[in-house]
């Protein structure tokens, strides 16, 4: 089965852009809140296919970018404890903490392993009963079920040396946060794989409370253009609603099994977001009955303070208030090889995608 045929068809994409051009007779600002979309939009040159009246803004949809430096500081601290091994996804390894990155700490001999799956960390715990294994739980609703599943497995196997340092975050509070800050947007291009897990229901309050349409989009050029057309139609017809464009991967009710696993293990917690501050119930932490798998419950962590690097405007970029080109550090002291802010570290960060696909100026 060829997944790309059709979804990258020039003729079909042209049909969509011509329809968008006909309809978009007013300035429209749509925000994508998924790092994967940020990357796909720039990679495929989607803005160059759209009429000037449509602007696409990047939102807080890259988990690496919105996670605080304190989280990295905590992870590095843990990796320096004699009997502890920290396991992380590769995405986090180059992100700067206050003084160093996990990559640098690992080069200095700290115990840090990159894993493909949270279950690899559980395996490591089984094989090393004399060590404490800490898994860095990062990501949105797409990734959280996997972390929950790892905790369930560790619990079923009676492991006493596995825990999760959770920085898991939930999308809707940040989407509401953006609107509450008064950032003008006319529609949300909603995250595809987050919605695979959650379904459509969580976006209803955004439509009902703020009158802003939500279209769940796939990641191919045709997906993105069709989603932009659907949002444009909603604005023109003054009928904001939740729609699924990415119907091959998103069902209205989402993935019930993944939701069940998540609900079993996690409860909502207040979380700090770069650019948005602390948002109520925007994170996930293990429930008290799984407290023995919550790193913060089982290991004492020093009190680190959140401090933004000087001159870095990641926070404003993550809210769509500024573009990377407006940052003095961009392509200057902050580059993919030497990133200052997290938005330049992640291949899904607005700064790195601009650097890669839009050029330096």
């Amino acid at each position: 089965m060829n997944w790309l045929e059709g979804y990258r068809s020039r003729e079909l994409c042209e049909a969509l852009t011509s329809e968008i051009r006909q309809l978009a007779d007013q300035p429209l600002r749509f925000m994508e809140v998924c790092g994967g979309h940020t990357m796909a939009i720039r990679k495929f040159g989607i803005p160059s296919l759209l009429p000037e009246s449509i602007s696409l803004l990047s939102g807080p949809g890259c988990p690496v970018c919105v996670t605080g430096r304190v989280f990295i500081d905590q992870a590095i601290y843990l990796s320096g404890l004699e009997d502890t091994i920290v396991c992380t996804f590769g995405d986090l390894i180059r992100v700067q903490g206050t003084d160093a990155s996990l990559e640098k700490a690992r080069a200095e001999g700290k115990q840090i392993r990159i894993v493909f799956s949270s279950l690899d960390a559980v395996e490591l715990a089984k094989r090393n009963p004399e060590k404490k294994i800490v898994f860095l739980g990062i990501g949105f609703e797409t990734t959280a079920p996997g972390t929950a599943a790892a905790i369930l497995r560790a619990s079923r196997e009676g492991l006493k040396n596995f825990s999760v340092l959770s920085a898991h975050k939930l999308m809707p509070p940040a989407m509401e946060g953006i609107i509450s800050e008064g950032i003008p947007i006319d529609g949300y291009i909603c995250p595809g794989h987050v919605s695979t897990i959650t379904g459509t229901k969580m976006y209803t309050p955004i439509v009902e409370k703020f009158g802003i349409g939500c279209v769940i989009s796939g990641f191919e050029p045709l997906d993105l253009l069709q989603s932009i057309l659907m949002l444009t139609r909603q604005v023109v017809n003054r009928k904001p609603k939740v729609e699924i464009q990415y119907s091959r991967a998103v069902k209205p009710a989402g993935n019930p099994e993944a939701q069940k696993v998540m609900r079993e293990v996690f409860e909502p917690a207040d979380e700090w977001w770069r650019g948005l501050g602390i948002l109520k119930n925007s994170g996930l932490k293990p429930k008290p009955e799984y407290g023995q798998f919550d790193t913060r419950e089982v290991i004492n962590l020093p009190d680190f303070r959140e401090k933004e690097p000087r001159g870095c405007i990641c926070g404003e970029i993550l809210k769509g208030l500024k573009t990377p080109h407006q940052c003095k550090l961009f392509a200057n002291t902050c580059t993919p090889a030497n990133p200052v802010g997290a938005c330049m570290v992640s291949s899904e960060g607005a700064c790195q995608t601009w650097y890669t696909y839009e050029g330096k100026n």
Binding site: L12, F140, T142, H193, I197
Partner: protein, 73 residues
Amino acid sequence: MCLSIPAEVLAIQGDEAEVSVNGNRLKISLMVLKNVKPGDFVLIHSGFAIEIIDREEAEKTLEIVRLMKADKN
């Protein structure tokens, strides 16, 4: 980070599946997805299958755009 890639399910054993991603064979977990069968295409994310890809829906999405294009011509 929510990157998920399509994979074809080759075999299932308990809550694990062997899948092929463009010919690369991987073991993934089925702990958060039910009713998967060999031959299904699933989306995988960080070692877990998170959804079965609906081929009919994939075709329907394209058909909507094809019809729109035909209408305009």
